[in-house]
Amino acid sequence: MNLSNEKLIEMYRKMLEIRYFEEKIGELFVLGALAYARGFIHLYVGEEAVAVGVCAGLRKEDYITSTHRGHGHCIAKGVQLNNVMAEILGKQTGCCKGKGGSMHIADVNVGVLGTSGIVGAGIPLATGVGLSIKLKGSEQVCVSFFGDAASNTGAFHEAINLAAVWKLPVVFICENNLYGITVSAAESTSVKDIADRSKGYGIPGVIVDGMDVIAVYEAASEAIKRAREGLGPTLIECKTYRYRGHSVMEQWAQAYRKPEEVEEWKRKDCILKLRTKFIQTNILEEEKICDIEKEVKSRVEEASNFALQSPYPENEEAIKDIYAEVEMSF
């Protein structure tokens, strides 16, 4: 596929943004700066290639629905770092005014229809967004991200069947990181390749190396094209891995998986892979890469300062936004 160097560098930058952003959150948690946030924060470290590879194929007006592990999706789709960080810290300047937190980040201006605290819940929403698109006759698509464990929910099954029957412009992206919290896919999921579940819906199923941003981009772009052309949904399974614990609470203790396993995956790191490619194919020299890395690091630092310095919302916010004003159109 025709991936320009600029695009590749942009993708590298996004992956870095996510990586540094997530590491920053981890730091803040340890420092106690997330005192209010308790454990309900799930870092995306290791899986950056999936969000970035998929979103690189999307337009601003396209939509995504996300998960509890959604910071990366939001950043990749274009939400400002400042507002994501502030939201995670529960500040007034967060994209949801601090009401959502890590598990409910939305920014409708860039098509982010929300991270979610209910596993699987974003999948039917995406099907419905696809329905709106089809009814409007626009050229948009909606991508739904979800985990391997989410593929065992009834919501997954019902939503994909519906999208398939109605031939909706939706791309289902399963991030198979081998675990749902402490439960291994082998213990909970009856099929080795979740992409095989596509056979139950008569739609294409694709397996892709989720540690390779270019591979993800290519597979996603093809599915997105199919969707735009009215050919219906695709299920893409990205084989990936989270480096850290399930949530910030569980940074170190990971009795359910072996350190060697973690190390093995880290050797396939998506950022490292692209970095090496840059140098080997002379797309970017090491020094330039370091510049980018420094720049991104300071952007993240800035976001962190922005969030830390932002105020908490005023108390009256607590009882706002429950109902939309009734808009009588007669």
Binding site: Y63, T65, G94, C95, C96, K97, G98, K99, G100, H104, A106, D107, V108, L113, G114, G117, I118, A121, I123, P124, L125, A126, T127, G128, V129, G130, L131, S132, I133, L135, K136, C142, G154, A155, H157, E158, A159, N161, L162, V165, W166, K320, D321, I322, Y323, A324, E325, V326, E327, M328, S329, F330
Partner: protein
């Protein structure tokens, strides 16, 4: 004015609103060839806007929420209350809370119509009334009309509302008749209707029980007992003022609904009165509701559990005997 069946009044509301606003769609199981509320809509509006769904209540309600967030105005039919638990995750966690969680960025203009209720030998899986569940969930509106006039006017308001609305119909009301205006009209939410004025006792009743209450009121009027019958029509928002004004007048309240008594909507109404109109009460607040028992198939047994006219009369007379 013209006479119309309850179910045809629903059909008219759907039809007129769909004519008015192209973003309205109707979806649900077996609605295309239905001979009830959605009859004929597919012929007029086509298969894009009138959609049969798979048996996937969670999935298609979720899809309706996603569609509602992005410019569509879905009116979903759920065949009966007993299926609401299946899709309640999407109603409760998504539709109801989304706007709030996202700091006001989204709206969810979604109507969920549910022709529920007992008294049709539907047995344990086709007889429920679960409006109390949804009254408990902030972010939803809950509507429960008892007459053709109310059902048409309130359904129009529900469809025009930018929030998720649980719209409780009743199977036993479908074939009841009533007058409605020829012209377009709608009924605002939050206005209870005094179905009959009276001064001795207030009966607050919903859905099919409004008919029973009115019939009781007529019976009792022959005995010189003047009953006021109030139909809240919408449970969220609830018109407390009309209810409390009536309590001020009569000092005596009987609340009647078909759903189970324990933690039913009558509990909430009674609690409001006991909290906000205590000084005007001169007798205990009575609730007449279904016994807290599943619904059996056999009709004689079902009849034992559902509230009926005799139960209401007994409650009214007990109140009048006091003092």
């Amino acid at each position: 004015m013209k006479e119309i069946l309850y179910r045809d009044a629903i059909n008219e509301a759907l039809r007129e609103e769909m004519q008015r606003d192209k973003s309205i769609i109707v979806m649900g199981e077996d609605i295309k060839w239905s001979i009830w509320a959605t009859k004929g809509l597919v012929d007029e509006f086509g298969e894009d806007r009138v959609r049969n769904t798979p048996i996937s209540e969670l999935g298609f309600v979720g899809a309706a929420v996603g569609a509602a967030m992005t410019g569509t105005r879905p009116v979903v039919e759920i065949m009966f209350d007993d299926l609401l638990p299946i899709c309640s995750e999407q109603i409760v966690n998504q539709a109801a809370r989304m706007r709030y969680m996202f700091g006001g960025q989204t709206k969810v203009p979604l109507v969920i119509r549910v022709p529920g209720g007992a008294g049709v030998s539907g047995a344990g899986h086709h007889s429920e009334s679960l409006e109390a569940w949804f009254m408990h969930i902030p972010g939803l509106k809950v509507v429960i009309p008892s007459t053709p006039y109310d059902v048409k006017g309130l359904l129009k308001t529900a469809i025009r509302d930018d929030n998720p609305v649980i719209f409780k119909e009743h199977k036993r009301l479908y074939s009841t008749k009533g007058e409605i205006p020829e012209d377009d009209y709608s009924i605002p939410f939050g206005q209870a209707d005094i179905k009959k004025e009276g001064k001795d006792v207030t009966i607050i009743a919903t859905s099919y029980m409004v008919l029973e209450a009115l019939s009781v009121a007529e019976t009792l009027s022959k005995e010189g007992i003047s009953v006021e019958v109030i139909d809240p029509r919408t449970l969220v928002p609830l018109d407390k003022k009309t209810i409390i004004d009536s309590v001020k007048k009569t000092g005596k309240v009987v609340i009647v609904h078909e759903a189970c008594k324990r933690c039913g909507i009558g509990a909430e109404i009674a609690a409001i009165i006991a909290e906000e109109a205590f000084d005007y009460l001169d007798a205990p607040i009575k609730r007449v509701a279904r016994l807290d028992v599943p619904i059996p198939f056999s009709r004689p047994l079902e009849n034992c559990l559902l509230p009926n006219k005799e139960d209401i009369i007994k409650a009214v007379k007990e109140l009048l005997a006091i003092r």
